[in-house]
Amino acid sequence: MEIEVLLAITMFLVAIGALLAGFPVALTLGGVALVFALIGIGLGAFPEPLLRAFPNRIQGAMENQVLIAVPLFVLMGVILERSKVAEDLLHIAGRLLGKMRGGLGFAVIGVGALLAASTGIVGATVITMALIALPTMLREGYDPRLASGTIAASGTLGQIIPPSIVLILLADAISNANQTASASAGVGPSVVSVGDLFAGALIPGLLLVCIYLLYVLYHALFRPETCPPVSQMDEDPVSASDMAFGLGAPLLLIITVLGSILGGIASPTEAAAVGAVGALLLAGLRLSVDQPAWSRRALVLGLLALVVVFTMAGTLDLRVNRADLTSGDMAAITVAAALCLVFFASLAIALLVLSRAGQLRPALSNASSITAMVFLILIGASLFSPYSEGSVAMTSSQTFWRQHPAGRGARW
């Protein structure tokens, strides 16, 4: 057997062993690859320049415009989580559906799908739902297996329902692979974008939601003892304003962000930025309840300003670099610019409100950590991948590793 293949197989086994030992995945992948690359260089089986080129791969991640969407979606998810959107949604859904058999199960699945469509990160969703929904479900006499299974399954929908962090990372890898493939096949250039993957994952994701719902329905119809209706409601019925704010606002944000990506209006990075500031303003509104009234008014004003600016941009031509600017155009541009200033001021106020509520620091530090975790895997895996490149036997496993970190990354 050739020395390279032998080394590659040994490396693979060592990597699996080290991963099982429980050292961080990113550093294990990179570290094992590095150790074996050094052995390979010693044996003359590994070209040294590949090692020297490694920091270029970090540079590549730093300058990648598509990947900027990852921290923005993470920020959006973390801020929404801090603004208790998940709690509100669960309470509303529970009160609406709790009276029927299996109702709490339907509520959990529906909320899981909504949160999945608004965050793209998973871990926090599962924890929130388990903390809120599980005790209620168990108290009402749900079969513990059905209750925990429903929560775990719907909590992880974020991986497949767009905007999903995994899909963004995959899109980056797939578009490179696609370019190489179409170049070697001699066909014209074709592009696989994040939007394509989002569009492709939407229907399977919704199908999955339907299957979960059907499963709970089956239990409700044929094994009613596993999912009884809620016996007594200790809370008031849902008011219209609760509905509008708790359910409507997140829904509007989801439709705006996903709609603009799937409709091809905005790039995922741009849509993610809009989503993140939208989440920031909503969180500010939600948390400003026990803060000065002016801050609440300022936030509403900021949201309105954003909506008006985009409406103006849709109906009027506000482009500045034109030869035929009339005085009416000038006036409209000035108004739009002023509204943008109002909007930025309200963003600053939203930050202030979050900070006063003690949610800004944890949100930001959480978002930074999650982003660092995702990208360290990317860096570690990029050290792992060149080693197996070129060896046919390792190509399939290489694809596995390239996808694997993304899969793990999105758990959080």
């Binding site: 570290g31 920091p55 730093m62 921290p71 993610a272 670099n321 963003l347 982003t371 660092a372 990208f375």
Partner: protein, 218 residues
């Protein structure tokens, strides 16, 4: 100005060489814990604080990235404008966010692990994995990144205060490129802190669950 940074670089280089023996400290703690345990503990806490400062910078970079990106969106979709410096601000903020937060994430146990055997290991077993992994994986990776990042072209970048290639770009490309060696140095320092804490746990000089900061990323 270039003279000053050249001197600074030389000072940093010698500081780096001189701090080399520090990386033997975790092993020394293993061999002879008594006299050096307090020093090792203090050093680990100090390095944790360095990572905390870097995390704060990363958080600020995250906010900067968000605000700059929404400004890019507004400028483009409303006013039909695009500024290289604004887009570069987004890129710089984004890179700084994940590169500077990496060390603190290691401290807070935020980097994903495979939890199959780990929960079945004793606290000593986990500390052993931590110590070995730091020496075998973290230090070599960081040395490689640092060694390859401090290239002649990097030195030239600082010597000329390399600016963006775009005419309306930021004149800060040299700082952007410095993020890579900074990332390696921070991660290596945090690795040293983790190794010290693991060695202290192994010798019973520290609480068994003090390997990672409590209340970190869930």
């Amino acid at each position: 100005m270039a003279e000053f940074f050249l001197t600074l670089g030389t000072v940093l280089k010698w500081l780096g060489f001189l701090s080399g023996p520090l990386f033997l400290l975790p092993l020394l703690v293993l061999v002879r814990p008594k006299p050096i345990a307090p020093i090792a503990s203090a050093l680990a806490d100090g390095l944790d604080r360095v990572s905390e400062a870097a995390l704060k910078a990363a958080m600020a970079a995250g906010v900067l990235m968000l605000f700059a990106q929404i400004a890019v969106v507004l400028a483009r979709y409303v006013f039909g404008l695009s500024f290289s410096w604004l887009s570069e601000l987004v890129t710089y903020g984004f890179a700084a966010m994940f590169l500077l937060a990496s060390a603190a994430t290691l401290r807070d146990d935020g980097h994903v692990r495979v939890d199959i055997l780990r929960p079945r290991l004793s606290a000593r077993g986990r500390a052993m994995v931590e110590l070995a992994g730091t020496y075998v994986f973290i230090f070599p990776i960081c040395i490689l990144i640092f060694w390859a990042a401090i290239s002649p072209s990097f030195v030239r970048s600082w010597a000329n205060f390399e600016a963006s290639r775009e005419s309306d770009g930021l004149p800060l490309l040299f700082l952007f490129r410095t993020l890579v060696p900074a990332f390696a140095a921070l991660l290596m320092a945090q690795g040293l802190s983790q190794a010290l804490k693991a060695a202290l746990v192994l010798r019973g000089e520290r609480e068994e669950d003090s390997l990672h900061r409590q209340g970190g990323v869930a």
